[in-house]
Amino acid sequence: MSQDTLKVPELALILLIGSSGAGKSTFARRLFKPTEIVSSDTCRGLVADDENDQSASADAFELLHYLVAKRLKRGLLTVVDATNVQPEGRKPLVALARQYHVLPVAVVLDVPDAVALARNAQRPERRGVGPHVVARHRQALRKSLRTLKDEGFRHVHHLRGEAEVDAVQSVVRDRLYNNRQDETGPFDLIGDVHGCYYELRALLETLGYVLHEEPINDVRDLGIRVTPPAGRRAIFLGDLVDRGPASPQVLRLVMSMVRAGTALCVPGNHDIKLLRHLNGKKVTVNHGLAETLAQLEAEPEAFKGEVRRFLDGLVSHYVLDGGKLVVAHAGLPEAMQGRGSGAVRAFALFGESTGEIDEFGLPVRYEWAREYRGRALVAFGHTPVPDAEWLNNTIDLDTGCVFGGRLTALRYPERELVAVPAAQVYSEPVRPLNYKQLAADAQQDSRSTEHQAPSTNAAQHENDDLLDISDVTGKQFIETRLLRGVTIREENAVAALEVMSRFAVHPKWLLYLPPTMSPTETSALPDLLEHPAEAFAYYQKQGVERVVCEEKHMGSRVVVVLGKDEAAIERRLGLAGAGIGKCYTRTGRNFFTDGALETAFLARLRDALTTAGFWERFGTDWVILDAELLPWSAKAQELVKTQYAAVAAAANAALPQAEAVLAEAAARGLAGAGALLARTTARREAAAHYADAYRRYCWPVQSLDDFKLAPFHLLATEGHTYFDRDHAWHMETLRSLALADPGLLRATPYRVVPLGDPAEVEAATQWWTDLTAAGGEGMVVKPYDFVALKGQTLLQPALKCRGPEYLRIIYGPDYLLPGNLERLRQRNVKAKRNLALREFSLGVEGLERFVACQPLRRVHQCVFGVLALESEAVDPRL
């Protein structure tokens, strides 16, 4: 019977099977995307320049298998266009399908030899394919038809004759059962219940579900109906039954919810064992199955039938919310997510053990989560743990309720944990767990619930102790919220690896590096390279209505990570005995070389924050600040001496002597001497101004009292970043902190400037003129909002506008002399601005990941990226 559609799973390895000339290539081209087809002829052509060179077959198939493997690894449906009539030819392909957990499908194009021969005859390059070849192919094909199922093909489509082949007009791609990517939640994920009905009800009620008893009129009625809070659904992570007191009631409740569409459920190994028993298979009655069976005794047969159908219909795992959430009873590594194979199902049910047995006679489980790198959050159960802990974006929600622990739910996407304690110990675990504290809690109030903070925990911290080199080297592509993705070139990563390894502080401190900042476009005004007008014009053109102008301090840019105490740092960063904080430079180096000074500085800053009531106000015990630490000479003393002071010294020694001889020459009336003298005098004066410029930013640092810290961004505290707050908020918040210790902290003078108001713009410009005339470095102009967009386009987070005197220490003493400034105006800020945006988006991304308790490698990748981008060649004077 001919059919006009071919049904295949959406992720499949499809082998076309047919003799030479059967029309496989035509069939494939007609029904699949060209990129989905991997053809042996094409591979032969690629390796031998001749699609019919049979001597190249070995190399051609090696290439074919390589291509198939790459596609399957990436989860793409693939069609193999080769004769595939020999079992030994199919075997490696089936093995690949198994390796990548993809379903193998056979499509047999069974056409008479005459048709194949006629087709071959039409193709000059196939002239060599004689009748004996086609006959041999067909013979092998016939034989194969009997063995395909045994070889592992789940679906075999046998198209008999040309007509059936031609009749197929389209391919229907069936969604895999586990693919629920279009369901976005919100969800409440519930760990192993094991017949703890009482606790399950309590947990559901705590989560806002309403339970109604219902009359049982029909054998199919379950006697309970659950109404979830608006929009929410529950997901059960399996092991509903065994050990506990009320497995049938748990089943009733869950089956009712699944039937009503208010819950999803994946099977656990206990559930499947029960199913096998109900199916009449012989199973060993242990590990709590006996209790379940006894409880089921009292149930009507019809109910048992319902249970059997329910369990039989469960899908091993689900991929939800666009691939962002995966649920499986025993967890699932990334390579198995959304795939279908026996191995996937087995892993989802049982996990993997290392083959070792622990001291309690239980198998030692392979901790797949330690190596987990996937994008999806994986929620699972199966292994009872004292606390649900995050590890690499995975979480085990089996908190051993039946063993007297708790029944835990994870609210998704909120990532909040909600738990109810067990009313009693229903079963003694073979492997004892320390539940003393929990028992005490339970005594106080058996119905009390615990809301845990998104956790920070020992397992993740330990896992983060060592980062993997493959996460930072090579070409990296980092997805960020603000820019779609930031590419880090390999050579930049190479440079950053050295800086990071040799000079940077411990990566657990290194949560943020500030982005580079572009200057304004070059001013056209005489004797100026930079002027606020260009900064205002930039933002006005981008539709920004208000900007904030902040005085630019000339010191060293630092990031301060500070805890309320050492315990806070240990809890949140996993750094034990490492002090209460760290102050590091924009390249990740420790600012302080003197340990005692560092300790004193951090303690004084902590005390200031405590005095200001900061910890209470922000509900946190740690903070990250972006700041300028003054004076410049505190860190740059050597640079000042060897570079800046040296230049002034050389100029001061050389130029007056040149002036003296030029004056003599001018007195002799030599033509040109006068002009040269004037120029030399101008250079001497420029050198003097230059010396004044660098001296302004230097003062001797003898003790802590000589330091001034000017914070200008409050970056993050527990659970929050502050990129959603405007710069006026940051300025005011930090000003209030500065009041607590004016000796150490300096509030940054700033003004908010509505760009539509010429008077305000004029006043701000005058402010800059006055600041720079008094020797200030200049100012930074920021859009009022921390993250400013024009449509979808990210705007510069800040533009610096430096004063003409300050710029002498950047461009050299003589930069304003005639002939020089004209040339220096030919600068291009484009590359710098591009870099500023990429680094800004990486910085924001890194901190957002940190605040969301993501694994350190995800934060480090962003920080490393900023450091790598800093090795891009841009004009360092910008």
């Binding site: 080199i469 390894s501 050389a650 002799r668 930069y815 020089n820």
Partner: protein, 478 residues
């Protein structure tokens, strides 16, 4: 940058003939990096002064040198080049006074041979110390005077700068000689060159200094600095300079000598020097190579291989089948590849060696499956707080059969006269451990990771302080 040459030879204005520059005019010539102006602030029969004012263009020095150009080596935009006598001045001298330097004078052919009383002023020279101008110019018969300049007059505590106004006087010398001396010695004082040093540079030195340099007591210093310590040029040049003289070669630049000053050398070699001594570093490497060889490993890691000195020794041991050199510095790896001639290596030899960039602070699966790993003078370049990561990477993850760790012995530092107490042998050392500290670390590491450890001194032992370096040999416990 200003250079003046004054003579009281009668008539002094003959200086104009000699220099081929008319005392009545100010003349400007384009030179590398800017302009040179030649003029005479005084020109009487009694006394005549010629001035050369070098006006470098600071913007031009940086700009217009696109990729592919030889480029200005200094990445700085704020620098002393416009004010200091440097190779730019040598260039300007040969451009503006080339005729005089070659000893020709068309109008007065007798003059160049004439010894003149001369006074020279250079404002300013950059020198490693105030005695260096003397050491370079006094042996040539000059009376030398230097004026120092404070680094910053407003910060007296910073002391003097490295800039000096140089005064030279000579009772009677050919102008040609003075110009030649300045041409060679001013860049030697400055110790920087604005152009690429090629073979040509050695020829220039032999041409300009051939007459006087062989007798100069500082010829070694002058040659090395003039040729920027490039061993390939320095040694043959010295040999040619001293050809036919009976003098011994001054100590040559070692072929692998670093361009930066090496770690402090011991004040006095303990014990009488018996044989030609290997440097401490080479000794260490040979000892480690020997220790590795004795264990007969097949796959060896050199972690922190630097420029590949240990790799070279290991490659000579045929029983080692595969060597992986790793360093965090890409630059060091390129140099290692060059020195080991990786590109031209025959295929079988090439297959024995691989070089990778990596860091000892990141887990790296490429490091698994080795019989031995060497960390020669590596750990002291890491902050002590990061050693835990190194330990986890090497002993926890890579787990080679044997690990060889060397580090300086701080007990020994008291024998280094130039080291003050608490100072380290190298700027980049983050710590230097005593024997007890090293032993404590090594023992704890071994215990935590299932290794046994043996500690060995490296180099000659001195009573009470041990050997200069120390080695820990870790072997995985059976």
């Amino acid at each position: 940058m200003l250079l003046t040459i004054t003579t009281t030879y009668q008539p002094a204005t003959d200086l104009g003939y000699l220099l081929h520059k008319n005392p009545a005019r100010l003349q400007s010539v384009e030179v590398a990096g800017g302009q040179a102006h030649v003029f005479y602030p005084e020109a009487t029969a009694e006394r005549c002064t010629a001035a050369l004012l070098l006006d470098l263009d600071p913007v031009g020095l940086v700009r217009g040198r696109g990729p592919g150009n030889e480029g200005f080596a200094l990445e700085q935009y704020v620098n002393d080049r416009p004010y200091v006598a440097s190779s730019f001045l040598s260039g300007a001298l040969s451009k503006a006074f080339g005729t005089a330097m070659n000893g020709t004078c068309k109008d007065r052919p007798d003059l160049p041979a004439q010894a003149l009383p001369l006074a020279v002023k250079v404002a300013v020279v950059s020198a490693p110390g105030p005695d260096w101008p003397r050491r370079l110019f006094e042996p040539l018969g000059y009376e030398v005077e230097v004026e120092t300049t404070p680094l910053d007059p407003t910060v007296p505590a910073w002391g003097p700068s490295r800039y000096y106004t140089l005064h030279l006087r000579h009772a009677g010398l050919r102008l040609q000689d003075v110009l030649t001396h300045l041409y060679v010695l001013l860049p030697v004082l400055d110790n920087d060159k604005h152009y690429y040093i090629g073979e040509n540079e050695a020829e220039k030195l032999l041409h300009r200094g051939g007459d006087w340099l062989p007798q100069h007591p500082e010829r070694g210093f002058i040659t090395r600095r003039y040729l920027r310590y490039l061993a390939a040029y320095v040694n043959p040049t010295l040999a040619r300079l001293l050809e036919g003289t009976e003098e011994e070669l001054p100590e040559p630049v070692a072929p692998d000598a670093p361009e930066t000053p090496a770690a402090a050398a011991p004040a006095a070699a303990p014990g009488p020097p018996a044989e030609p001594k290997l440097s401490l570093h080479d000794q260490r490497l040979q000892q480690v190579a020997q220790e590795i060889y004795d264990l007969g490993p097949k796959r060896v890691l050199d972690l922190g291989c630097g420029e590949g000195k240990l790799l070279r020794l290991l490659l000579r041991l045929p029983k080692i089948e595969y060597i992986l050199g790793m360093d965090v510095s890409h630059q060091a790896l390129s140099r290692a590849a060059q020195r080991l001639h990786l590109v031209e290596m025959p295929p079988r030899q090439r297959a024995r060696l691989n070089l990778i960039q990596g860091s000892l602070l990141y887990r790296d699966e490429r490091l698994a499956g080795f019989d031995a790993a060497a960390l020669v003078e590596v750990i002291e370049h890491l902050d002590e707080s990061r050693l835990g990561a190194l330990e986890a990477v090497v002993f926890g993850q890579a787990r080679p059969g044997h690990v060889f760790v060397t580090t300086p012995n701080a007990d020994y530092n008291q024998l280094y006269e130039t080291l003050n107490a608490g100072e380290f042998r190298h700027d980049d050392h983050r710590f230097e451990w005593t024997r007890a500290e090293f032993a404590a670390w090594a023992t704890a590491v071994a215990e935590r990771h299932g290794y046994q450890v043996r500690l060995v001194g490296m180099g000659e032992e001195v009573e009470g302080v041990g050997a200069p370096s120390q080695l820990a040999v870790f072997g995985m416990a059976k």
